[in-house]
Symmetry: C2
Subunit: 389 residues, 2 copies
């Protein structure tokens, strides 16, 4: 991973480093397409094999049939595209967690404006404790927040701000028992490649992912797992040749499977790159083993931060995955500006990021994070907190 | 161009060959992003420079301000995304030419179904003569087809099936004089990189392009030029962080400029690749000079085909650009199957494609096409027509 050669990296939740074999796979795919085509009968079998190979691999990760997997350019498109073709009725409610990404929230606000839907809020950002009480609280709060008009629930699998995990399969089961059986949209931007996703992806109606964060694939390619009932109910909105079953005029209607949400030409070599990155992850162990390795480093970081003067982690317990968010204050208790800290750490070759809500720092550990890197970050944070006097 | 090393290529309208310097630019961009980031304060200036450099270059090609240019994954997204946020009223009419790509037509049909719009047709596929009578006919037919309910006109700049060019700027002027001033959507899939586009792109409301055909850029990146009145009237529909002016919660609303139609993460290295391809085209001469070179070969092909027994070109005159569509019959006058011809030519290393409506063959010539290649194609077509006895 060339990205890791010259820095101490903690932004896996922003973008993962691209392994050299994945960049090589991308370059080789470009070369193969040029050799066979780029537009010829000779190239289509290669393109189809590349796309369907990745679709099958992701389907295995998701624990669903490949017919339920659509490719998108990014996680936001996976979240949003299937929503616009659902049969909304004015007055329907969208129940959105208070820890969702602002891009998705803005899309939901526009959907609500156009269809006269009502937005209600599910508080989860304050759930910073252990998994079991968190799951219980989500269950109780969801029960209280659901109304006969609730038509969609929006909840991330791994919250991008606090780093808490949500009990997606349990939420799906709870929604199935609700009179309107609301759709469940799961933003899985932080979960594919970090958590085991099969149970959640199979249970959600829309489980939208990207390849460029924890999967360490190239930017510009994501995927979404869709439930059968959603495929049945939702019409495609952004339509192109890939949406259509029949490739020609007079069209034979939309694909019945998830491809109905694919649009038109995308970059095939990126599929080869992501496939390679996923294979590299698989070689490190199964999803549980990989999460255990991620947590070994995130726990080291979280525990070290408990000893750091002036630091408060958002999570009150060791993190369930690789996201560690924190707020820093100087010895007088004055909050330190996260952007200034990011800059000063960056000057030392250590990269983490700020978040705006809550205003904090976020450091991520991945499989490749080392104990030394975590110690270095802890030292650097301590020294910054002291200097801030 | 490695793609041209092992074949005789006539599918520039399907996908252009990627020049080696463009593939190198893509690989270098991936490497630079890894070196500086991939997610760090150090990488953003590079990413922003890469994206805005291409935006400025395309704006110059389009003859519009950079604020009117949005990036999309492909030409279809450029056509379709801006449509869903326009203020449609039930009963509005979409006037669609009979030579549009079936993917865009399917998208318009769904738009019409959702908003109870009416689809009407503008016949242009039969206009196979010279530019002036074609322009006159388009003007007259448009006048006859427009109604007080017409709200959108959809017309390609360079028709993908017949290879005819449409007088886009004149159509835009005509629509401006119409009481409802209908929007003008131009599918420019075949024109960017083959025709001078500045006049048309500046005149249309939506001028949607791709980088992977005549521009010889990588697949998976397109751009759309949008008029100021469209930017004013249309709300974004597929929304993500790139749509938003303020990068955070509570959002500051959408970008006022064309970025309001961009969504979320896309593949920055593709921007570097397309920029390189456009620079290579610029080095070959200005848009008029490049079109003259394209036409030199398409005229050679068209004229040769007039002498080929059993061949009928769709255009009755030498082509205005690089697309040459033809129908073949055996010496008994029996139509030959285009797919079988494509296969047999492919076996000889010569690549063109079939179209379904009208059912025909299409060969494209580009700047890099040689007189020898055109002669070879003519010989191969003649020999196939004779064998078909």
């Amino acid at each position: 991973m060339p990205a890791l050669a010259n820095k101490t990296y903690f932004n896996y939740g922003g973008q993962g480093p691209l392994p050299s074999p994945s960049l090589a796979a991308i370059s080789e795919a470009f070369a193969t397409i040029q050799e066979l085509g780029p537009f010829s009968d000779a190239v289509w079998p290669y393109v189809n094999r590349t796309v369907s190979g990745l679709r099958q691999r992701l389907a295995t990760w998701f624990g669903v049939d490949a017919a339920r997997v659509a490719f998108t350019e990014n996680v936001t498109s996976g979240c949003v595209l299937p929503l616009w073709g659902l049969p909304w009725e004015a007055g329907d409610e969208l129940l959105i967690s208070d820890a969702e990404h602002y891009g998705v929230v803005a899309a939901l606000q526009e959907l609500a404006r156009r269809h006269q839907l009502r937005i209600t809020t599910l508080a989860v950002a304050d759930l910073t404790g252990d998994g079991d009480p968190t799951a219980t609280a989500v269950n109780e709060r969801l029960e209280a927040a659901l109304s006969p008009r609730t038509r969609l629930v929006v909840l991330s699998h791994l919250l991008w701000n606090t780093g808490q995990t949500m009990p997606i399969a349990a939420v799906a089961a709870q929604l199935a028992g609700h009179s309107r059986h609301p759709w469940l949209l799961v933003d899985a931007a932080q979960s594919l490649g970090s958590l085991p996703v099969a149970e959640a992806a199979a249970a959600a109606d829309i489980y939208a992912c990207t390849g460029h964060k924890w999967c360490c694939g190239p930017e510009g390619l994501g995927a979404v797992a869709l439930s059968e009932r959603l495929l049945e109910a939702s019409s495609p909105t952004v339509i192109g040749w890939r949406t259509l079953e029949h490739d020609g005029p007079g069209a034979g209607g939309y694909h019945r499977d998830a491809r109905r949400f694919e649009v038109a030409t995308s970059c095939t070599p990126l599929f080869a790159g992501l496939n390679q990155s996923l294979q590299l992850l698989e070689a490190e162990g199964d999803a549980d083993a990989r999460l255990a390795a991620i947590r070994q480093r995130s726990h080291q970081l979280w525990e070290g931060l408990q000893q750091s003067p002036g630091v408060r982690t958002l999570l009150a317990v060791p993190p369930p995955a690789g996201l560690v968010s924190l707020i820093m204050a100087d010895p007088r208790g004055q909050a330190l500006d996260p952007a200034a800290i990011v800059k000063q750490l960056g000057d030392r070759g250590t990269w983490l990021r700020t978040l705006e809500s809550p205003r904090c720092l976020r450091a991520c550990t991945h499989l490749v994070s080392t104990a030394d890197e975590v110690e270095r970050l802890l030292d650097q944070l301590s020294s910054l907190a002291k200097k801030a006097l």
